[in-house]
Amino acid sequence: MLQQRLLAPLRVLERAIVPSLRSSQPISRPPPPSILSRTNTSAPTPFLNRLLPFSQVRHASHATQGTANRHSRDPAGKRLGAKRTTGEYVVPGCIIFRQRGTKWFPGENCALGRDHTIYATEAGYVRYYLDPERHPDRKYIGVCFEKDGKLPTPRNAPTKRKLNRVAVPRIDDAPTPIAGQSDLVATIDNGTMVSSVEAVNAESGSQLRPGYMYREANWQIGRAAEKAGITAKAYNPKNRWLAWRKRQARAERAAQMKSLKNKKKASKKGKGGR
């Protein structure tokens, strides 16, 4: 940049001065061949070399002292701080204070979130307070039920709580019978159950299944033993005799398989040897 700007006036200057310079030069001293060769490429260089011996070329390899790394050094604000002030009304879940670490601690009717956010667990009015009886240096945020109530409450006073519930007639949570039991039944996300008519009264034997097959439903096949009245003996974990027999049988089978495997290998080896 600097070079380009300086070059134009310097060229003018050179044109004016060069003839006189040439005349003043002693004839006995021949011009160096290097100058001659250079003149056809760039005329002003010999003069410039004399005039600006220390001019530096600056390439773009170094970052300028500008805004290049600004974004990593100065991130966006995280919008921390108080969201509700003293005396403001909050409902459960209402965020009162966002912070990094616990600058404030959750007091009465408040809780600490995953990122140390303090939020209300009861509806009430926000209080910022110190509680030296509980901790000498901690600052607490609490919610109190009355508009002009005070926090902290004394350590030996009964806690103030709210029920926050209404009484409704009791509903027994007995298991309700399932409407359509089949593997063709699906429930759509708005709660309606879709089941084909055949699937609902599937007790009556084989039917057209997906894949154009006439057969019983999977759940009916699973209940075949039940229908036939076959009962398995209940598993008794204390029956060590049965457990031992099973273990033994498994071990035997494993040994058998292993021996077969070995035979195969041996035969292969034998083939390879031949």
């Binding site: 009304y89 909050v90 409902v91 459960p92 209402c94 509806a123 350590r155 030996n156 006073a157 009964p158 806690t159 709580r161 709210k162 029920l163 926050n164 519930r165 209404v166 009484a167 409704v168 007639p169 009791r170 509903i171």
Partner: protein, 420 residues
């Protein structure tokens, strides 16, 4: 390994049989250890082979789990740890005085000398106390001075009594076997220390974390060990108890660590009775008995068996929890009556008739009670609760509590027109 064990078994049995299983008949002299074996062997041969060990296991020596279980089923609990019992099986069981270890015997002598010294100190301290009591109040420097000096001397006397026995290995063994005599100060001291090491800490943590302490009473420093049983099963502090189980009154085991007998008031309070109109919680007294005597040796209190015409003010009411209500904390408090004097039962019974909203704080102030023990169990809605509620005439059995919908705050524009 198994093979060598099997091979060595007869040999080991032979060696073990050389020592008798029961010790009392053994008369050993430390200097003649070789003769003792021979003597014992003769004796073992002489005594008739009545029953093998596995038929009639000895609770002090049994170490296999199967035999232990059999003993427990018979109602006899094995003594000490299994490791100790296993070690005892093969030990010659020589009494301490006759053990042939010189250094050990020298150390015992030091301990015995210390005990003698402590006994002398006890005697002299008793004399001192008697002398001070004989001195008239004016000469002793006033009522206050004399009293404080007497109390300090009594305390020192108790301390000396404990110090006299604390280094005795037999005392330690007896205490660990659960055979300690609670009428003696040393065993009470050891029991108290053991309780404070773990069980009291658990109890205090539960009653403070579950906020029983500010909710029911402002303060409580438990000094008696309280265990709670429904039927035969013990209940840990804060455990959930099935409603069917808690229909009958629990049994208490109140271990006092002080000398003498105390008269206590026992109260069971539910501090979480939901009140929908008030949008809050009420209290309900589930049990109240006064003038219950407890001492270090008589610890069992069956709440259903206290006399209804001299002790029980409010009989046991099964605790319930309505469906949808948060868990109910049933706190049991043992309250010492002032100077261990009996309360006037008729007057208390006439005054305390209602159960609802009876605060333990007011009772404490009215009758000058002091909480010395506490326990806690919880109850919540379960499958048997509806029946229990119907049986006991709770009207709210048909109602269920549901969460009230909280109205969200109105949406507030974060950049109103005034900001723009």
């Amino acid at each position: 390994m198994a093979h060598c064990e099997r091979a060595a078994k007869p040999l080991l049995q032979c060696l073990q049989k050389s020592y008798p299983r029961a010790l009392p008949t053994l008369q050993v002299q430390s200097t003649r250890a070789f003769q003792t074996t021979a003597f014992a062997r003769e004796e073992a041969q002489a005594e008739p082979k009545s029953q093998p060990f596995h038929k009639a296991p000895d609770p002090a020596l049994v170490s296999s789990p199967r035999l232990e279980r059999r003993l427990i089923r018979q109602g006899v609990s094995p003594i000490g740890s299994r490791r100790r019992r296993a070690a005892l099986q093969s030990s010659p069981n020589v009494p301490f005085e006759q053990l042939p270890y010189q250094c050990f015997q020298e150390a015992r002598k030091v301990l015995l000398a210390d005990r003698e010294e402590k006994l002398k100190e006890i005697v002299s301290m008793r004399e001192k106390i008697a002398r001070l009591q004989a001195v008239p109040t004016e000469e002793a420097g006033g009522e206050q001075v004399k009293k404080s000096r007497l109390v300090a001397m009594e305390l020192h006397l108790e301390r000396l009594k404990i110090l006299a026995d604390i280094n005795d290995p037999l005392v330690k063994k007896k205490f660990e076997d659960g055979q300690g005599d609670m009428s003696k100060p040393i065993y009470r001291y050891l029991a108290d220390r053991k309780w404070r090491e773990y069980r009291r800490k658990i109890l205090v943590q539960r009653i403070t974390q579950m906020k029983v302490i500010p909710d029911v009473l402002p303060h409580c420093d438990p000094v008696v060990d309280t265990k709670l049983y429904f039927g035969r099963s013990p209940v840990q502090p804060g455990e959930f108890v099935n409603s069917r189980v808690s229909t009958s009154a629990p049994k208490l085991d109140v271990q006092l660590f002080d000398r003498g007998e105390k008269l206590v008031t026992i109260a069971v309070v539910d501090s979480d009775v939901p009140n929908v109109e008030k949008d809050g919680f009420d209290y309900r007294m589930h049990y109240l008995a006064v003038n219950v005597p407890i001492s270090a040796v008589s610890t069992k209190v069956d709440l259903s068996k206290l006399s209804s015409d001299s002790q029980v003010v409010l009989p046991w009411l099964p605790p319930v929890a309505q469906k949808g209500s948060p868990y109910h904390r049933l706190s049991v408090f043992i309250m010492e009556q002032k100077d261990s004097k009996p309360l006037d039962f008729a007057a208390v019974k006439a005054k305390e008739t209602t159960r609802d909203n009876k605060l333990l704080r007011t009772l404490q102030a009215r009758y000058h009670l002091k909480a010395i023990g506490a326990h806690l169990f919880r109850t919540e809605w379960d499958s048997t609760m509806a029946e229990v509620m119907k049986e006991n005439g709770y009207a709210e059995v048909d109602m269920e509590l549901r969460r009230k919908r909280v109205e969200p705050l109105p949406y507030k524009r974060r950049n109103p027109s005034t900001f723009r």
